[in-house]
């Protein structure tokens, strides 16, 4: 049973629709293996389904939602600790 949603084919993250514990499987399409969560990730939060280099764009809804500020491996929780907006910052 799926516990995540992938909103666009190009997305590098999926969004959890249930809490997941580290080591549990993240599944967004029935019949596909999905990925293993490396962190506990709560409902509504994102998990990487593609590896992303530091500085690369993180894609959700088929569009950039900001840049990775450190390398992100598959299964990692993607949030404020490793993803930053490129908009509206006072400096930089």
């Amino acid at each position: 049973m799926r516990n995540a949603l992938k909103l666009h084919a190009d997305d590098t993250v999926v969004t959890m629709i249930a809490d997941v514990a580290a080591g549990e499987q993240v599944t967004w399409e029935e019949g596909l293996p999905g990925v293993e969560a490396l962190d506990a990730v709560p409902f509504g939060h994102k998990v990487a389904v593609e590896a992303m280099a530091a500085g690369s764009r993180v894609i959700k809804y088929g569009a950039s939602i900001g840049r990775a500020i450190e390398p992100i491996v598959v299964g990692r929780h993607v949030h404020t600790h490793n993803l930053k907006s490129v908009r509206g910052a006072a400096k930089g």
Partner: protein, 388 residues
């Protein structure tokens, strides 16, 4: 496509109302208590909770006067009492005269001329009761859905907003624009990062340029404060709900507008002139944005929320839609539509969009929203200059 209808009140000026409210409008904070006393004493009277009106810039004063006038002349308002103090910057007699240019009766009371709070309130109560009584003789008649103006708002968003509630509201928006209703997308500061979507959706390159210029001006203004946008957009609650960046929030937010083209770009509080989807330049702050949508003539505001926001408006029903099944369960008193059924796989986006459409027509015919039943009447108006 059949032309859907609902039972509404056709006003003498040809516009259509869906509620019969008597608005009590203070022209400044010092007149607020007398205005509160009137609104509290009269069933059918509502307080427009304005409390600036003095010590603000001329520009802010003139704009506020225009928006308060728009509230007094809103088609959901069948009469109004303007309550002033007498020494404030926002001249209550001028405000009252502007409101009285509409079809509905309006009276102006000034506390320093009336001999104090109590006598002002007593006279206001008598005026308001007369106005409420006129509503009893008004009858609903069939009106086309094209007579409706609908505001789209989101607040207290979480990750379910972009996945469920907002795209379902987009389906609703498409049903409304197919009926040639006027629908208003808003909240400029929540669209940073969705410019490419908005450009594609604009009815012409000129509309797209105006839209992008509005967003650029908003971003420049925010940067000019010297503060980081983070912590405001997205808000701390948005972040706890899984939204990391303003771009992510924007891409979810823009789905509220459905798939119809954006035909116009409006200043805060300006009424749309064209049927279909317009964009209004409002802040992301929910109270202020909703007041702009209502000053622009919205009959109903449809409001998506993930974390759960209970706010309403004094003269317009606000319909609450949450995409988060947990929030629906936690805040049943405040939530009208459970779009969380999309997340749990029990309903499709199109089904929930249709549910919102059907509910909005029942609300247009008088069914109370949860926010109305709880007398939610929050009011906050845009101000960009300082208070002196």
């Amino acid at each position: 496509m059949t032309q859907d209808t609902f039972m509404g009140f056709v006003r003498p000026d040809g516009r259509v109302g869906i509620r019969n409210h008597v608005a009590i409008i203070p022209s400044c904070g010092c007149a607020l208590r007398a205005a509160q006393m009137i609104a509290a004493a009269v069933d059918g009277a509502v307080l427009i909770d304005y409390h600036e009106g003095c010590g603000i810039t001329d520009r802010d004063m003139e704009l506020a006067k225009g928006w308060l006038t728009a509230f007094g002349r809103h088609p959901n308002v069948i009469g109004s009492v303007v309550v002033g103090l007498g020494c404030e910057g926002l001249d209550p007699h001028d405000l009252g005269a502007r409101v009285a240019e509409g079809w509905a009766p309006s009276e102006t009371l000034v506390i320093q001329e009336q001999g104090g709070t109590r006598s002002t309130a007593d006279k206001g109560i008598a005026f308001a009761r007369q106005m409420v009584a006129t509503g009893e003789g008004m009858h609903r008649e069939p009106c086309p859905v094209s007579a409706l103006t609908i505001g789209l708002e989101c607040g207290g968003s979480d990750a379910t907003s972009g996945m469920a509630a907002n795209p379902a509201l987009g389906e609703f928006s498409d049903l409304m624009t197919a009926q040639a209703a006027k629908v208003i997308l808003a909240e400029t500061s929540e669209l940073l990062g969705a410019e490419h979507v908005l450009r594609e959706r604009s009815a012409s390159p000129e509309i797209a340029d105006r839209l992008i210029a509005t967003i650029d001006a908003c971003e420049a203004f925010l940067k000019s404060t010297g503060e980081d946008f983070m912590g405001k957009q997205p808000s701390p609650g948005n972040v706890r709900g899984g939204i990391t960046t303003v771009e992510e929030k924007a891409l979810g937010d823009v789905r509220k507008g459905g798939s119809s083209p954006i035909v116009d770009v409006l200043a805060y509080g300006d009424p749309p002139n064209l049927p279909g989807l317009s964009f209004m330049d409002t802040p992301g702050n929910d109270l202020t944005s909703v007041v702009g949508l209502v000053a622009g003539g919205s009959h109903i505001v449809t409001f998506t929320t993930g974390r759960g926001n209970p706010m309403g408006n004094p003269i317009v029903p606000v319909i609450k839609i949450t995409g988060n099944p947990q929030t629906y369960a936690n805040m049943t008193d405040d939530m009208d539509v459970n779009a969380g059924l999309i997340i749990t796989g029990e309903k499709t986006l199109a089904e929930v969009g249709r549910d919102i459409y059907d509910l909005s027509l029942r609300v247009a015919e008088g069914e109370l929203t949860k926010a109305e039943a709880l007398d939610h009447g929050e009011f906050m108006i845009l101000r960009q200059g300082p208070i002196y």
